[in-house]
């Protein structure tokens, strides 16, 4: 089949230029599918989904009937990024993570950034994710955000922008890794011809990073999961398995004699590093949320004494606040003396009077977000919402302006995707995974999430989103 009749419909397309020229990275792929029919592709698509199920990379959807496991739909047409563009993105992400890490450290220690009037102190103190118990903390090697999954989007002019920083236990990396395994089976020859950079070093780098923050030879590393009812449980199990470390639940851990220990058949065994996949405030019922049943009592005290390393460090969420997000380009300038390589999306802070008025007046054209929500929750997409919803959000903004930001509605770039009987453009974003250990390691690629519903801009898996393999070229 050919893509001659494929219509970019005026959107920025990852495969075609605006005058319908095929971008060079896609040449081997398009040459290959010339020999296939749409049925062949659909067949490959079904086979890919079966393999995903068999590999067990699923997420839980719980119901009374004992629960079902679903896969995140994978669209087999890859998203391709040219090497040169990737290298620039990689520099931009490195720069951003460095600055954010310095910022978090500053917030909990010297607070120079407030004294120099770069960010108003009141913003931090009103942030839900600012954790008082972390004041004065010095995490191992001064690294706070060990694992980050930055959300990038490309706007209608082709400019890549940061949408969210996701410094708190970002998920989805197992999909990134498995998607590649599936595509290796689906298009072995094209992968080879296209010269794609490998991504399977991720779990090796992850383990190296966790070893680095332990500061002792052969540390005992564990992955801490909330348990099998967590929707990302299989990712937790997968990463533990790939790294060759134990997957633990809170009931496996106990604080004794000033250290964190795990209960084994041979008695208690000391734990040195915890890659924790539970939220900050659930970590320790003695320090944070006293109702937490997922945490380990006393763990924070051990952490403060430097006797266990946590990735990510508690408190990193403060830089995830969507109001702080607006300040990141300034923070990069302040801490590194550099201009931000990857721009933000223009952001109106409803706390500021002028911005707020603009947001209220133009709500029908804007996206409004709550400062601390993620996963597409607490969000209004102005152009797709009703008048009633616009009014509701206006009221919410006026009631608590600090908690809202507004952004222009961005027409995300599109990638040709398999619709039932044809290939059509679908909107995508990109979540690369960044590890901060001895050095900053960014796996070339990331999780491309795709809004599989025609016309939809929402890529979240809970709302009809799927994913694509991301090919970064040499």
């Amino acid at each position: 089949m050919t893509l001659d009749s494929y219509n970019t419909e005026g959107f920025f397309d990852e495969m075609f230029t605006s005058d319908h020229q095929l971008k060079t990275g896609y040449v081997p792929f398009v040459n290959y599918i010339k020999h296939l029919t749409i049925e062949d592709l659909a067949h490959k698509q079904v086979a890919a989904e079966h393999s995903l199920m068999a590999l067990g990379i699923t997420f839980n959807v719980y119901s009374a009937e004992g629960g079902t496991e679903r896969i995140m739909p994978l669209d087999i047409i890859p998203r391709i990024i040219e090497g040169r563009e990737w290298d620039r993105l990689s520099d931009g992400l490195t720069q951003r993570i460095k600055a954010l890490n310095l910022f978090i450290h500053d917030v909990y220690n010297q607070q120079q950034v407030f004294k120099d009037d770069v960010v108003p102190k009141s913003l931090i103190e009103s942030s839900k994710c600012f954790l008082k118990p972390c004041i004065g903390l010095e995490p191992p090697k001064s690294i706070w955000c060990h694992i980050t999954g930055t959300d990038l989007i490309r706007d209608q002019h082709g400019v890549m922008r940061v949408l969210e920083d996701n410094l708190r236990c970002p998920s989805g990396v197992s999909y990134m890794l498995e998607n590649r395994e599936i595509l290796k089976r689906t298009f072995p020859k094209i992968l080879d011809e296209t010269q794609v950079r490998p991504i399977n070093g991720y779990t090796i780098s992850l383990r190296e990073m966790l070893e680095h923050i332990a500061d002792k030879p052969s540390p005992n590393i564990v992955v801490l999961t909330p348990g099998i009812y967590n929707s990302a449980y299989f990712e937790h199990a997968y990463l533990a398995l790939q790294m060759g470390v134990e997957l633990v639940q809170n009931s496996d851990l106990v604080v004794k004699n000033g250290y964190v220990n795990m209960r084994t058949t041979k008695g208690l065994k000391r734990v040195d590093v915890i890659y924790r996949r539970i939220d900050d405030t659930f970590l320790d019922p003695l320090t944070f949320n006293p109702d937490s049943l997922l945490g380990v009592p006393g763990i924070f005290e051990v952490y403060k004494r430097g006797r266990v390393a946590l990735a990510n460090a508690p408190g990193t969420g403060v830089a995830d606040d969507k109001v702080i997000y607006a300040y990141v380009p300034k923070l990069i300038k302040y801490y590194l003396g550099e201009e931000a390589i990857i721009p933000n999306v223009d952001t109106y802070l409803c706390e500021n009077e002028l911005d707020r008025q603009y947001a209220l007046d133009n709500i029908a054209d804007l996206v409004v977000k709550e400062a601390n929500e993620a996963g597409g929750y607490g969000m209004l997409i102005g152009p797709k919402a009703s008048k009633q919803e616009h009014d509701d959000f206006r009221k919410k903004i006026l009631a608590n302006p600090r908690n809202y930001i507004a952004q222009p509605t961005i027409q995300l770039s599109r990638v040709p995707s398999l619709a039932t009987d044809k290939i059509e453009g679908r909107h995508v974003d990109l979540r690369p995974y960044i590890l901060y250990g001895k050095e900053i390691v960014i796996t070339p690629g990331g999780l491309t999430r795709v809004a599989l519903r025609k016309g939809s801009l929402v890529v979240n898996s809970s709302q009809g989103g799927g994913s694509k393999d991301t090919w970064v070229l040499y």
């Binding site: 633990v248 639940q249 004794k256 209960r263 084994t264 058949t265």
Partner: protein
């Protein structure tokens, strides 16, 4: 290894072995019922509920015994935590929480096993007239799991905990079955050695797949030889002695990797039991009292289980 993981592997195997034994008991009893049509349901089926020690629960839920209710109770009833369905479901839940510790084949099999039982439970009326194939599939499901574990999991600590659970469960079930025949089906004196008596004894043997093996060894059906075979035989893999002796080997292998654990109460109890079973004979068992003896066996097996739990699974802070 993590206590929680060891505990799960141990119970996966106990639950699956329990499901297998129940399926055997039910299958043989259903077959026996066809040969003894003149015996009322209560007498034919209630002893089976006694085997599983859940009589009170049964009476609470169903009241009077009937073949259909008892079959349901033992096979599909979720309220009975020992039913085949509940056992396989519990095994799967345990497997789910330790998926990264078991092989993919093992998980896929347990998951498929569970779905087979669940799907059948949803259409139980259809299989009620002839449950033979289904019960056979449960027995095979358990045997297949055993084979998959042997051939896809390293024979290290976790595998040993699994086998330990298997053998203890099996020892307990064989002892219980014998007890039911002896204690509950006890015929009046003039029926000892009658055709009915022998049919029942053959059924006991068949319940644990021992009929052919017994015949090969002893030929004639003699109650005290059957007792000897099922409790003391050194080679038959479902005899109590074979199972407790194998459990001891498994425990020894586990302890081998532990420091300072030679004198462990579980090991002590198992070793004492095994040397007793090795040297005793049916005459002495009869003198002690068959029911009393089996009761004692079961108490010791339970104590061993409790000691294992204390030592390995419930690690103190």
């Amino acid at each position: 290894m993590l206590s929680r993981v060891a505990n799960s592997i141990y119970w996966i195997n106990r639950y699956i072995e329990r499901a297998e034994n129940y399926a055997r008991f039910i299958g043989v009893n259903a077959n026996l019922a066809l040969d003894t049509a003149n015996i009322p349901d209560a007498m034919q089926w209630m002893p089976l509920v006694a085997t599983t020690a859940d009589e009170e629960l049964y009476k609470d839920i169903y009241g009077e015994p009937s073949q259909e209710d008892i079959f349901n109770f033992l096979t599909f009833d979720n309220n009975n935590s020992n039913s085949v369905y509940a056992c396989v479901m519990n095994a799967r839940e345990n497997a789910r929480t330790i998926r990264e510790n078991i092989s993919i084949e093992m998980w896929e099999h347990i998951n498929g096993f569970y779905h087979n039982v669940r799907d059948t439970a949803n259409k139980k009326q259809e299989i009620l007239p002839n449950p033979r194939e289904f019960l056979k599939s449960v027995v095979q499901g358990s045997q297949l799991l055993s084979g998959i574990e042997d051939s896809t999991i390293s024979h290290t600590e976790g595998w040993h905990f699994g086998k330990l659970g298997r053998f203890l469960e099996r020892a307990d079930k064989t002892a219980r079955l014998l007890d039911v025949k002896y204690f509950i089906l006890l015929p009046s004196l003039d029926e000892v050695g009658s055709v009915l008596d022998l049919i029942q004894w053959s059924a006991v043997l068949k319940s644990v797949s021992a009929f052919m093996m017994y015949r090969r060894k002893y030929g004639q059906l003699l109650p005290n030889k059957i007792v000897e075979f099922l409790i003391l035989d050194k080679d038959f893999p479902r005899s109590v002695y074979y199972c407790t002796a194998s459990a001891q080997v498994m425990l020894k292998n586990i302890l081998r990797t532990h420091r300072s654990s030679v004198k462990n109460p579980a090991m002590q109890k198992l070793a004492m039991l095994n040397s007793e079973l090795y040297y005793t004979n049916t005459k002495e068992i009869m003198k002690f009292g068959m029911h009393e003896y089996i009761d004692r066996l079961q108490t010791i097996i339970n104590e061993v289980n409790d000691e294992i739990h204390e030592m390995f699974f419930a690690v103190k802070d």
